[in-house]
């Protein structure tokens, strides 16, 4: 099934779907505040067209996420996501994502990966058959 639009971009991130998985990459030097969080979640949900999908979220461009952003993503940001894999690099994105996972406690299964292939393996376990 081909999505109505197979690539989308907003101020903060780019989205595309491949093999039943939603790919979501934050742009370089992104600071996620509540406005950014609401924007990406709303756009993602619209892009997914009411389908519940596993999400690969590339965090490597993220500089920081403030508390309002974290809390929003952990709750509302989990809507229509069957699972989330956070792709990180070694330093800041890893720290921020780990903090998000441990402290903000997202509402759907979420794991952190440094390798995209491992992230995709994980997400494939959540595909609807």
């Amino acid at each position: 099934m081909i999505a109505a639009h197979d690539f989308y971009e907003n101020r903060y991130a780019s989205f595309w779907i491949a093999d039943g998985i939603l790919f979501f990459r934050y742009k370089p030097d992104t600071v996620i505040d509540i406005e950014a969080a609401k924007c990406v979640v709303a756009d993602r949900i619209r892009f997914q067209d009411d389908r519940r999908l596993p999400v690969l979220c590339d965090m490597q461009g993220v500089l920081s996420v403030d508390k309002a952003g974290r809390d929003y993503l952990a709750s509302s940001g989990s809507v229509l996501a069957s699972a989330v894999a956070l792709l990180v690099a070694e330093n800041v994105s890893l720290t921020v994502s780990t903090f998000y996972l441990e402290i903000s406690k997202p509402a759907v299964p979420t794991r952190i990966f440094t390798e995209e292939s491992e992230a995709l393996s994980y997400l494939r376990g959540f595909l609807q058959h």
Binding site: D29, L63, V65, K67, V92
Partner: protein, 300 residues
């Protein structure tokens, strides 16, 4: 570490920590855009401050300056082989273990930093039957692998079959009641503001700074701080979970405790200095609060 962009961030981190120590969680360190190890500490510190702002400071921006810390008391019974034969419920709570996690274990296993300090305490006790007990800080490893520090003293059991390790550690006021208070306030429709907190902080600091004087009436305090009696009493109850008078007398009692411990001033005089005109009354109140009579407290 001497490069300007590193130095700048380290300075900012120092400042941040000082602010947090003051109870101010409003600060954030500006991001540098760099992706290195130092920046991970920067973002982590920022995130921690945000969380603390909302959750840990149950009352919001009142820095107790340590004076509001209750003292948790914990006792361990050790056998001749330095194993934990028994532990009080306070000890289990302080060290964060269930009884099965502690009893039967060698004390060495829960002492962070080794047995040296403990052995020194034992040696000091072995010389004769002197009731003098020195107190030393010991670091324990709690069940979560964080460490807890407590002032401890060691005593030989007179039956000769072991030792008693008594520990005192500061602990924060029980947060359970704090949340109830918060919910009550929200339901009443009046949620305390930051300026309320600032007011109460000022009164709190004033009282702590004037313990040797008689406590002004609530009316007088309200006048001094430009507010009304109701706000003052409500504020104190909400943020500090006690009445102004109760707080004042409790702090005086704690001050008496430290005076007894740290000075050679006669007990009767210490009682007078802390507002107790009758020594028996002081002794009774002291015993109720600390579980021992003033005479039993060892003086340095």
């Amino acid at each position: 570490m001497k490069r300007p962009h590193n130095h700048k961030r380290i300075v900012a981190m120092h400042q941040m920590l000082f602010e947090m120590a003051r109870g101010n969680f409003n600060m954030q360190i500006p991001g540098s855009g760099l992706d290195d190890e130092l920046e991970t500490l920067v973002v982590l510190m920022n995130m921690v401050a945000e969380e603390l702002k909302e959750s840990v400071l149950f009352s919001g921006f009142i820095n107790p300056h340590g004076a509001q810390m209750l003292v948790a008391s914990a006792t361990l019974l050790l056998d001749e082989a330095d194993r934990i034969a028994d532990a009080s419920t306070g000890a289990l709570a302080l060290l964060g273990y269930g009884s099965s996690g502690l009893i039967g274990r060698p004390i060495a296993e829960v002492l962070g930093g080794g047995m040296e300090a403990y052995r020194t305490m034992k040696e000091q006790q072995s010389g004769g039957n002197s009731p003098l007990k020195g107190r030393s800080p010991l670091h324990f490893i709690s069940d979560g692998s964080l460490s807890v520090t407590a002032e401890c003293s060691l005593e030989r059991l007179s039956g000769g079959k072991g030792w008693v390790l008594s520990c005192l550690a500061p602990c924060l006021v029980n947060r359970g009641s704090a949340r109830e208070n918060q919910e009550k306030s929200i339901r009443k429709g009046r949620y305390p503001t930051r300026s309320d907190a600032r007011l109460i902080q000022k009164v709190y600091d004033y009282i702590l700074g004037h313990l040797e004087e008689p406590l002004p009436s609530v009316k007088e305090l309200a006048r001094m701080f430009g507010t009304n009696e109701f706000k003052l009493k409500e504020g104190f109850r909400h943020f500090l979970h006690t009445s102004i008078y109760q707080f004042y007398t409790d702090e005086r009692l704690k001050r008496a405790y430290f005076m007894i411990e740290q000075t050679e001033i006669p007990l009767k005089r210490i009682a007078q200095m802390n507002g107790f005109n009758s020594y028996p009354n002081f002794s009774r109140t002291f015993k109720r609060r600390f579980g021992m009579s003033p005479k039993d407290l060892e003086r340095k």
